[in-house]
Symmetry: C2
Subunit: 415 residues, 2 copies
C-alpha cells in the first residue's frame, strides 16, 4: 500500500492511448517543426463523451493551453471528447496565448462537428514565441480525417520534443466482471521536476468512473508517481496530466470508494508508474535510470522529500554518470532534505542487476569493495536504498544521471 | 541599504587573511594530497586572542570539524587564537570524526603552546573516508614554525579543492580615527548552495569588535552574500564562515550599533560580496559568472528567493553556457520560486559589458535582436535584471553556467 493505493502488477497490452475502447488518434507534421519527418500536431478523440480529470503545474507561469484546458473542463462539468496537442511551441508567455489556444480547440471541434469546449488544448516547446495558427488551421481537416485506433503512435510522435523514445503503456483489468483498459502516453525529457502534475501526459480508459472518483484516483496516484520524478529540478510551465474515461467497457460506474475503485486505482498506478520510469530513463542526455527508495520514514511526505532530494542532487547525478560510488553525496543530499528525522540512524545501499553493496550504516561509512561497486554501477538502472529506521512509511523517486549531453542539448535548444 | 547594511565601495589592499595586524599563516603538503605541489594543510593564528563569530551549514549531516569548532567557540565564550584546516578529506560521516578533529586542534595547540580549545578545525574534501591523522602529526611543527604574515597564499592553497583560482580579498577602513583592516580567504567550487553559511570561509580583522556585534554583523551580511550564491544547489556538509577580530587596530571596541558598527559592517559586506562573486565565477566547470538582481519585490526574502531560483535553474545555466537568450527559462524559474507575487507584472532584461536587451515586459515576450543578444551573452559576466513592480526591496544572487566540465569534474571526483 502506498498513499492508499494497492500495489499490483498487471500484464501490459498494445494500443497506448487507443487501447481503451472507443478512442482514436492521429498525428502529423503541420510545419511548426521544420523536420517534416517529425510530427508536431496530435489529436485524440473518444467516440462518446468522457468524464475527465486533470492536474496542472504549480508554476506561477502557467501555459495558456492549461488555462484554456481548465476553463473547458469547468464549462462542461469535466465532460469532454478529446484533446489537441502540439510540440515545438509552448504557447506560454505570449500576449495572445489564450486566444490561440481557444482557436486550436475551435478548429478541431469544427473539423469533428463538436462544440469547442468539448476539446482541450496542450502545447509543449519553446516558451515565449508567438504560436502561428495557420499551419494548424491548414492541416486540421487532414488530422481529423486520419483519426484511427491504429494511429496512437503518430499522436505520441506529435508531442515528443527532446524525447528519444516513445512513451506509452496500457493494461487490462477486471471491474465487476467487465474487462477494462487504461492506456497512456507521455512526453518529457528536460524541465522535469513535477509538482502536482508533470509534463504532458494523457491517459484514457474505457472504465466507467465518475468525475469525482476519477479526480480522486488521479490525485492520489500523481503524488507517488509523477511528483516523485525529477530530471533537472525545473518545474515546467506547461505540465499537465489529463485522464479521460468514456465508460465503453460497460462496467457499473465507479462512483464511490470500494473494491472496484481500488482495482481501478491500482491499474492507474501501474500505468503511471511505468510512464514515470520511462520519463526518468529518457531524461535529457541520460545514460542511466536512478531509482531511489526511502523506507523506514515517519510518514509518506518525509519519505518522498528525502528520496527526491537524492534524485535531484547534481553532484550525485554526475557520480552515477561517472560510475563512481561517491555515497557521501547521497548522505549530503539526505542531510539537506527539508524534513525532520535523525541523520545518524540512516543506512544506505546501492543495488542493480550487478549486485548490491551497503555503503553507509548509522550515518557512517562502511567498508565496501570498489570492484563490486564498479559492477553495481555499470548497470543502466541504479537503485539507491535508504533506510531511515524511524517509521513504517516508504516512497520511491525516479531520476537520471547528469551527462555532457544534457548540457549540449540545453546549451542550444531554441535553434 | 540592503538588510540594514550600507553599501559602499572600498579600496582593496594586499595580504588576504593576514592583511589585518597580528595574523600569520602557513600551508604545506602533508601527504593527504598525493600531488606534492598542492598544499593540503593550513594554519592561521593571531598573535593575541580574538573574538570570533561563525555560521555553519544547515545540512543535517554536519562535518565533525564543525561540531568541534562550535564546541571550542562555546568553551571559550567565542575567544580563540586561530584555526587549522585541511583539504582532500571532509572528515564527515566517519565514526571517529570528532576524535580526529579534536586531535587536529590538540596537535596545533601543542606546537603553538596554546590550549586545544583556542584552535578550531575545518576540513573539506571527500565525505565518508577516514581521516589519517599521522600526516598531520608528522608535519605540525614544520607548519607552525613557518607561520608568517607573508604566507597567506600558502594557507589559501591548502584549502583549495577543485578551485582554479585563489580567493582572497582585503580592505582598509576607518573606525573612530583608527585604520582597521578586514581580510578573508575562501574555497569552494562545487557542492555550493549555502544555507546560513557557505563552504570554507575565513575572515580576519584587527578591528576591536565585541563577540555579540561580530555575530550580528556576520549574520546580516551572510544572508545577502554567501546565502545568495549557488553553483549547483547542493548544500555542503562542511560549510562555515569563521570571522576573527583581534582588536590590534586600536579602535575603541565596537560593542553596540551606531556609526562605527555601520562602517565595520559595510566593509565586511564589501569583502564577503567580493568573495561571493569569486566563488560563483570559479564554480566547477564555469565559463561565465551569472549575477541576477531581483528588484521591485514586496520584501527582501521574496527578492532573494526569486533571484536564487533563476541562478539555480540547470536549464537557464545551460542556455548561458550556450550563449542562447532563452529567456523563457528565466520566466519558468521565476514562476516556480516559492514566493508570493504576481507573475504578469514581471519585466526581465539581460545585460553585460556587451550591452543590454529587454526580453520580457509584463510577463510576456518583447521583440529583441538575436544579434544584439549574442553580443550581450558573449561576455564572461552576465547580468539578469528582474523587476517585479510589486514593492521596493531588491537582492542579488550569484551563480555560474552549467558546462561539460562540471559533469567531467564530478563524474570522477574521488580518484
Amino acid at each position: 500500500m502506498i498513499n492508499g493505493i494497492q500495489e499490483k502488477n498487471f500484464e501490459t497490452i498494445e494500443g497506448g492511448v487507443c487501447a481503451a475502447k472507443g478512442f482514436s488518434a492521429n498525428g502529423l507534421n503541420c510545419g511548426l517543426n521544420r523536420d517534416k519527418n517529425k510530427n508536431d500536431l496530435g489529436l485524440v478523440v473518444s467516440d462518446v463523451i468522457c468524464h475527465a480529470a486533470a492536474v496542472y503545474t504549480t508554476n506561477k507561469v502557467k501555459g495558456a493551453p492549461l488555462l484554456v484546458m481548465k476553463r473547458h473542463l469547468e464549462a462542461n462539468g469535466g465532460m469532454i471528447r478529446g484533446f489537441i496537442a502540439n510540440s515545438k511551441n509552448a504557447n506560454t508567455c505570449n500576449a495572445d496565448g489564450v486566444e490561440k489556444a481557444e482557436k486550436m480547440c475551435e478548429l478541431a471541434a469544427k473539423a469533428l462537428g463538436l462544440s469547442s469546449t468539448e476539446i482541450v488544448p496542450a502545447s509543449t516547446g519553446v516558451i515565449g514565441q508567438v504560436l502561428p495558427i495557420e499551419p494548424i488551421a491548414d492541416h486540421i481537416n487532414e488530422l481529423a480525417a486520419g483519426l484511427s485506433p491504429d494511429n496512437h503512435k503518430k499522436a505520441v510522435n506529435a508531442i515528443m520534443t527532446t524525447d528519444t523514445v516513445m512513451k506509452e503503456v496500457a493494461v487490462e483489468f477486471e471491474v465487476g466482471g467487465k474487462t477494462c483498459r487504461i492506456g497512456g502516453m507521455a512526453k518529457g525529457s528536460g524541465m522535469i521536476h513535477p509538482n502536482m502534475a508533470t509534463t504532458l501526459n494523457f491517459i484514457t480508459t474505457d472504465a466507467a468512473v465518475s468525475s469525482e472518483m476519477l479526480q480522486k484516483a488521479l490525485s492520489a496516484v500523481v503524488k507517488v508517481t509523477y511528483n516523485c520524478l525529477s530530471v533537472d529540478g525545473d518545474t515546467s510551465t506547461n505540465d499537465c496530466v489529463l485522464l479521460m474515461a468514456n465508460g465503453l467497457a460497460g462496467n457499473a460506474e465507479i462512483a464511490a470508494e470500494g473494491e472496484d475503485f481500488d482495482r481501478f486505482q491500482s491499474a492507474l498506478y501501474y500505468v503511471m508508474r511505468c510512464m514515470t520510469r520511462m520519463l526518468a530513463k529518457d531524461g535529457e542526455g541520460a545514460t542511466k535510470l536512478i531509482e531511489c527508495e526511502c523506507a523506514g520514514a515517519p510518514d509518506l511526505d518525509t519519505a518522498i522529500i528525502v528520496a527526491k532530494s537524492v534524485i535531484r542532487s547534481p553532484l550525485f547525478k554526475c557520480a552515477v554518470f561517472g560510475e563512481d560510488a561517491n555515497w557521501g553525496r547521497i548522505l549530503c543530499a539526505i542531510g539537506y532534505a527539508e524534513a525532520d528525522f535523525e541523520i545518524d540512524k540512516v543506512d544506505v545501499a546501492l543495488s542493480s542487476q550487478g549486485g548490491r553493496i551497503e555503503v553507509c550504516r548509522g550515518g557512517a561509512g562502511v567498508d565496501f569493495s570498489e570492484d563490486e561497486a564498479k559492477v553495481v554501477l555499470a548497470a543502466d538502472e541504479i537503485r539507491v536504498e535508504i533506510e531511515l529506521h524511524q517509521g513504517e512509511a516508504s516512497a520511491t523517486a525516479w531520476g537520471c544521471d547528469l551527462t555532457y549531453d544534457y548540457v549540449k542539448i540545453n546549451g542550444d535548444y531554441r535553434t
